[in-house]
């Protein structure tokens, strides 16, 4: 019987204690924030959306090879010796055109493995994390700065250069072949003109 009354009393008292706790919390400032209006500061090394600085990219393809989910697609075109593509900000000479540099951010797993091998530190993780899209295609980011026409031009130039080089090589081979069987070649009017 004593136990019964003690239980009843304890029931009332503990309810009041609980009410005191919730009452106190009613006036505690909220720990949540109003997200789109207020944002938490990200950690310094937070890994979010990838960014590529194409001015520094040398098209070495190391990031694409490091990517565990193959979300980076790079195509390159060799430049000809007569064009100077300039230097990167760390002083590396650029030798390749990069007409295609696509990152499918929908596939990206934010591991940052592409960031470490980059010799010119041009691919990096930014703190942008709000980039949802209605269309999945919009999540394929095209970083390449070259237009299609420019790429065509570069390709054509390279093809011409390659052809020229091949012709040179063929001519040189032909000349060498002509020299061998006839140790005493007939004097040509202009031996240096090789076209």
């Amino acid at each position: 019987m004593g136990r019964y009354f003690r239980d009843v009393w304890e029931g009332i008292v503990t309810v009041l204690i609980g009410m005191k706790v919730t009452w106190r919390h009613l006036f505690t400032p909220a720990v949540t924030i109003q997200y789109p209006d207020v944002k938490l500061k990200l950690p310094e090394r937070a890994r979010n959306r990838l960014y590529v600085n194409m001015d520094d990219c040398i098209g070495c393809d190391q990031c694409a090879m490091a990517c565990p989910v193959d979300c980076i697609t790079i195509e390159t075109i060799k430049s000809t010796p007569d064009v100077d593509l300039g230097l990167t900000s760390v002083g590396t000479k650029k030798r390749l055109y990069v007409p295609v540099f696509d990152i499918d951010i929908a596939k990206c797993c934010y591991c940052a493995l592409c960031v470490y091998p980059c010799p010119t530190e041009c691919i990096k993780m930014t703190d942008v994390y709000e980039f949802s899209e209605y269309n999945r295609e919009n999540l394929i980011y095209n970083f390449a700065t070259m237009t299609a026409a420019e790429a065509e031009q570069a390709k054509a130039r390279l093809a011409a250069y390659d052809k020229e080089q091949a012709a040179k090589k063929a001519a040189a081979a032909a000349a060498a072949a002509a020299v061998k069987p006839a140790p005493t070649p007939a004097p040509s009017p202009n031996p240096d003109s090789k076209t």
Binding site: I12, V15, G18, T22, V31, T32
Partner: protein, 340 residues
Amino acid sequence: MKEFLVSLLQNEILVYSIMALVPLVWVIPFALFAVWWERKISAHMQDRLGPMRTGGWHGWSQTIADILKLIQKEDIIPTAADKKLFMLAPYVVFTGSYAAYAAIPFSAAYVGSEINIGLFYIIAISSLVVIGLLMAGWASNNKWSLFGAMRSAAQVISYEIPVALALLAVVMVAGTFDLHQINQAQEGGILHWYIFRNPFLLPAFVIYFVASLAETNRTPFDIPEAESELVGGYHTEYGGMRFAILFLSEYANMFAVSSIAATLFFGGWTSPFGEALSGPWWGLFWFLGKGMAFIFVQMWLRWTLPRLRVDQLMYVGWKVLIPFAFVVVLGVGFWVMVIG
């Protein structure tokens, strides 16, 4: 108010219709904003913010948006449900909870129906709610709904006894069942309220309040709804407007029991300062204010206490509240006999 309307409109039926609709003017906005209020209180008690965006200031119109959404929804009736009962149940529930307002005096000038058995009528008519809940649970043809409805019936029937006994204690002091007269007897300031007039009426109030929580299916006695175990209890299968009506009647019921507590123990529409700040409009203010204060306590308890188990619920009802209620009734009887 009735006499005034009769002299104004010269038509008794019209007057009665208007009188019947007056509490609705309060109940519907109350239910709308009480839901918002509950969400805000729960959020702040958990150190959150709750709805913040709809309508600008602290999401004040969140529930208006909710109700607009509910009205637009398709009226879905499960194929296996008992169609007629399923459609009828929400209205039975609402009728049960709204009918109680007929005898509650909102102010010195307004009481829906001045019947001399007001309190008795309220106890009787609010039992109709259980039939509606059982109907809803049974007609849904869903085991969770049926569980909820059965629990609700068991709970409400058990807890009606302590409620009736606690109310009986007040009736013994007041000597009448008429809520309006009970209210008038408490006029003249805070010390004339029944809760302070008789030492046995304080436990009577506690018993009434605890049992009324169970009657309105509020936490810690919300096992008929028990979101975490029964999905939603008897209203699991309801959607759209019917769900809105079940919700509305739940909140109407909450205010009904709160206002009965205010009327019987805390002076209803009487001013706590005696003659100062009294009058029909001030009376309305005091009545609604006291009712809302109890609504707040109900919400406060909801976010404080965990849900009781079914056996614990029955233990509290039959082994704690009812014996104590009997003692209170006896004590009040002696007090009235000896001291007056």
